[in-house]
C-alpha cells in the first residue's frame, strides 16, 4: 500500500512536470531556432546567427533577397505603431467606462442591475467572431469608414467588460468602514471619493487597464473583420505572413514579442503580488 501510494504520487509529479514542459518547451524551441542561420529549412540547425533580428530591426544584412519576406521594415513598424495607437486609445476609453460601471453598480441600487451584469459578462462568453461580424454589418450599414476609428470602437465594446471585472473584484474587497469614517470626520462626498475610495481602488484600475492594453495589442479576430483595407495591426501582420508562407524573420519577430509580453506580464503580476 505504501509503495503503491508513493508510486502514485511520483507519477503525479512526473505528469505535472510534463504539463509544464508542454507549455514551455515549444516557446524555448522557437527562441533557440530564431538564431538558426539556415534560411530554407528553419528546423535544421546550420549555425548561429543574429541576422534575422538585424533584418527585422532594419540593419543591413548579408541575407539574400529571396530568403526574405518583409519588403521593408517600414511595414512592420507601421503595424506596430497602429497597434500601439489602438491599444492606448482603447485602454483609456475602456478604463474610464469600465470603472464607471463598476462604481455605479457597487454604490447604487437600482432596477436593471442584473441586466448590466449580464451585459458585462456577455462579451467574455461570446465567440469573438460573432461580435466581429456584428460590428462589421453595423459599421458598413451606418456608412462609417472602416479604419482606426472602427477598430478602437469595436475593441472597446469588449474591453470594458475586462476592466469592469477587475475593478469590481477590487471594490468587493474594499473596506467600507473607511468611507463612513471619512464622512463622519466631515469630508464631503467628493473628497471622500478622491482621498479614500480612489487610492484604494487604484491597483484595480491599473490592473484592469494593463489587462485591456495587453488584450487590445493581441486581438486578432474582431480587428480582422472591422479593420478595412488601409489599416494593419501587428497580429494581423503576422497572421498575413503565416498565411503566405513562413520565413525566418517571423521567428525573430515572434521571439521579440514573447520577450516583451513576458516582461510586461511578469512586472504586472509581481506588482500585484506585492500589494497583497
Amino acid at each position: 500500500m505504501k509503495i503503491a501510494q508513493s508510486l502514485f504520487r511520483g507519477s503525479l509529479v512526473a505528469y505535472t512536470g510534463l504539463f509544464f514542459a508542454f507549455i514551455y518547451i515549444p516557446l524555448v524551441v522557437i527562441a533557440v531556432y530564431s538564431f538558426n542561420s539556415n534560411p530554407v529549412n528553419m528546423m535544421t540547425w546550420t549555425g548561429f546567427t543574429t541576422e534575422w533580428y538585424a533584418q527585422v530591426l532594419g540593419f543591413k544584412t548579408t541575407v539574400s533577397e529571396n530568403a526574405l519576406y518583409i519588403e521593408s521594415t517600414g511595414q512592420l513598424l507601421q503595424a506596430v505603431w497602429n497597434s500601439l495607437v489602438i491599444a492606448t486609445s482603447t485602454t483609456l476609453i475602456a478604463t474610464v467606462f469600465g470603472t464607471a460601471i463598476a462604481i455605479g453598480l457597487y454604490r447604487f441600487d437600482f432596477l436593471g442591475q442584473r441586466f448590466y451584469r449580464v451585459i458585462m459578462f456577455m462579451p467574455m462568453l461570446m465567440p469573438d467572431i460573432v461580435l466581429g461580424i456584428a460590428l462589421l454589418i453595423f459599421f458598413v450599414n451606418s456608412g462609417i469608414h472602416l479604419g482606426l476609428t472602427t477598430i478602437i470602437i469595436g475593441q472597446c465594446t469588449f474591453l470594458i467588460s475586462y476592466v469592469f471585472i477587475v475593478v469590481s473584484a477590487r471594490l468587493a474587497g474594499m473596506d467600507r468602514t473607511l468611507e463612513n469614517a471619512s464622512a463622519d470626520l466631515g469630508a464631503d462626498e467628493w473628497t471622500t471619493f478622491r482621498r479614500v475610495v480612489l487610492p484604494q481602488l487604484l491597483p484595480g484600475i491599473v490592473g484592469g487597464a494593463l489587462l485591456a492594453f495587453i488584450i487590445s495589442m493581441d486581438d486578432l479576430v474582431i480587428t480582422y473583420f472591422i479593420a478595412g483595407v488601409d489599416v494593419t495591426t501587428l497580429p494581423m501582420f503576422i497572421f498575413a505572413m503565416l498565411r503566405r508562407g513562413i520565413k525566418p524573420e517571423i521567428n525573430a519577430i515572434a521571439v521579440m514579442m514573447l520577450t516583451f509580453s513576458f516582461v510586461v506580464a511578469s512586472l504586472g503580476l509581481y506588482l500585484r503580488s506585492r500589494q497583497k
Partner: protein, 299 residues
C-alpha cells in the same frame, strides 16, 4: 438639492455615457446581425429587405427551393465543429485535471509560482503561440526533422493540417481557461471526506468516482463551458493549423463575409453559434441552481 436627486444625477453621470456607448456599439450590432440573418441575400452582395427563413434552411434542411437543393455540407461542418470543440474540452481536461491535484498540494510559495507560470502564456500573443506549433508540426518541422534524422521514418508524417493539429493548438491556447476553474474546485476539495471513504473500505477507484469527481464537478463543468464556447466558433486556429483542408464553423463564417459576400447566410451561421452558447449557459444555470448563478453574477 435633495439627496435622492443628487444620487440620481450621480448615477446618470456614471452610467449614462457608457450605457449609450454599449447600446449603440454592442447591443445595436448584435440586433442588426439577428435581423440580417432573416433577410434575403442580394444578387451582388448586400441584402434584400424581405423575410427569408432559408438562411437557416440551408443549414437545417429547408433550403430555398427556387435556388438550390438542400446540401448537408453545412450541417456536416457544424457537427464537425462541435466534435472538434468537444474533443478539445476532453483533451484539455485530461491535461489539466491531474496537474491541478499536484499543484493544489504544494506549499503556498510554490503554488503561487506554478499558477504564475500557467497564466503567463495567456498574456503573450495568441498568434505567436500558434505559430510555434506550425514550426513543430509541419512537413519540415521539428518533429519530422528529428524523426527523419534518426531514421525512424522514411517520409515526413502529415501532422499539420489535420483535426489533431487543430485540437492540439486549441488545447495549448486554452489551458489557462480550463486549468483555473478546475484548480479552484480541486483546491477546495475536503480531503477528510476522501480519507473517510478510504477508511470505510472503498477502493481508490470507487473513491475517485463517488467522492472526488462529484466534488470537483463544478470546476470541470465551468472549465468545459469556458473552453467549448470559444473553441466552437474559432477561426484563427483552424486557419493556421487546419490549412484549407479542415473547415470549421469559424472559417465558414469568415468565408461568407469576406469572400462569398453572403452576409445573411453568414449571420445565420453566427446565430447558430450564439444559440449553442445560450443553450449551454442555460443548462449550466439550471444545473447549478439559481443561487449558483446569482453567486457567479455577483462575484
Amino acid at each position: 438639492m435633495s439627496i435622492a436627486i443628487r444620487r440620481r444625477v450621480q448615477l446618470v453621470v456614471l452610467l449614462g455615457p457608457v450605457s449609450l456607448f454599449l447600446a449603440v456599439f454592442f447591443l445595436g450590432p448584435l440586433a442588426i446581425m439577428m435581423v440580417t440573418s432573416f433577410l434575403a441575400p442580394g444578387l451582388y452582395g448586400g441584402v434584400e429587405w424581405t423575410f427569408y427563413p432559408h438562411n437557416f434552411g440551408r443549414i437545417l434542411g429547408f433550403a430555398d427551393p427556387m435556388f438550390e437543393d438542400f446540401d448537408p455540407v453545412y450541417i456536416a461542418i457544424f457537427l464537425r465543429s462541435v466534435k472538434i470543440a468537444a474533443l478539445t474540452v476532453l483533451a484539455a481536461l485530461l491535461v489539466c485535471y491531474p496537474a491541478a491535484f499536484c499543484i493544489a498540494r504544494l506549499s503556498e510559495r510554490w503554488k503561487n509560482f506554478c499558477l504564475f507560470l500557467i497564466t503567463l502564456p495567456f498574456f503573450t500573443s495568441l498568434i505567436v503561440r500558434l505559430f510555434v506549433w506550425v514550426l513543430i508540426l509541419r512537413q519540415t518541422g521539428l518533429v519530422n526533422e528529428m524523426l527523419l534524422s534518426t531514421g525512424m521514418i522514411a517520409r515526413p508524417l502529415d501532422l499539420i493540417y489535420t483535426d489533431g493539429a487543430i485540437i492540439l493548438g486549441m488545447v495549448y491556447v486554452f489551458i489557462p481557461f480550463m486549468f483555473m476553474p478546475v484548480y479552484a474546485s480541486v483546491e477546495k476539495l475536503d480531503w477528510t471526506l476522501v480519507r473517510a471513504s478510504l477508511d470505510l473500505g472503498a477502493g481508490p477507484i470507487r473513491t475517485f468516482w463517488r467522492i472526488i469527481l462529484p466534488l470537483t464537478a463544478p470546476g470541470i463543468v465551468g472549465g468545459a463551458i469556458i473552453v467549448f464556447i470559444p473553441a466552437l466558433g474559432n477561426f484563427v486556429v483552424p486557419a493556421i493549423l487546419g490549412g484549407a483542408k479542415v473547415m470549421m464553423l469559424g472559417n465558414l463564417i469568415e468565408q461568407q463575409f469576406l469572400a462569398a459576400r453572403n452576409w445573411p447566410f453568414g449571420s445565420a451561421l453566427a446565430m447558430m453559434v450564439m444559440s449553442v452558447m445560450l443553450v449551454l449557459l442555460l443548462v449550466y444555470v439550471f444545473a447549478s441552481g439559481r443561487r449558483g448563478a446569482d453567486a457567479a453574477l455577483n462575484r
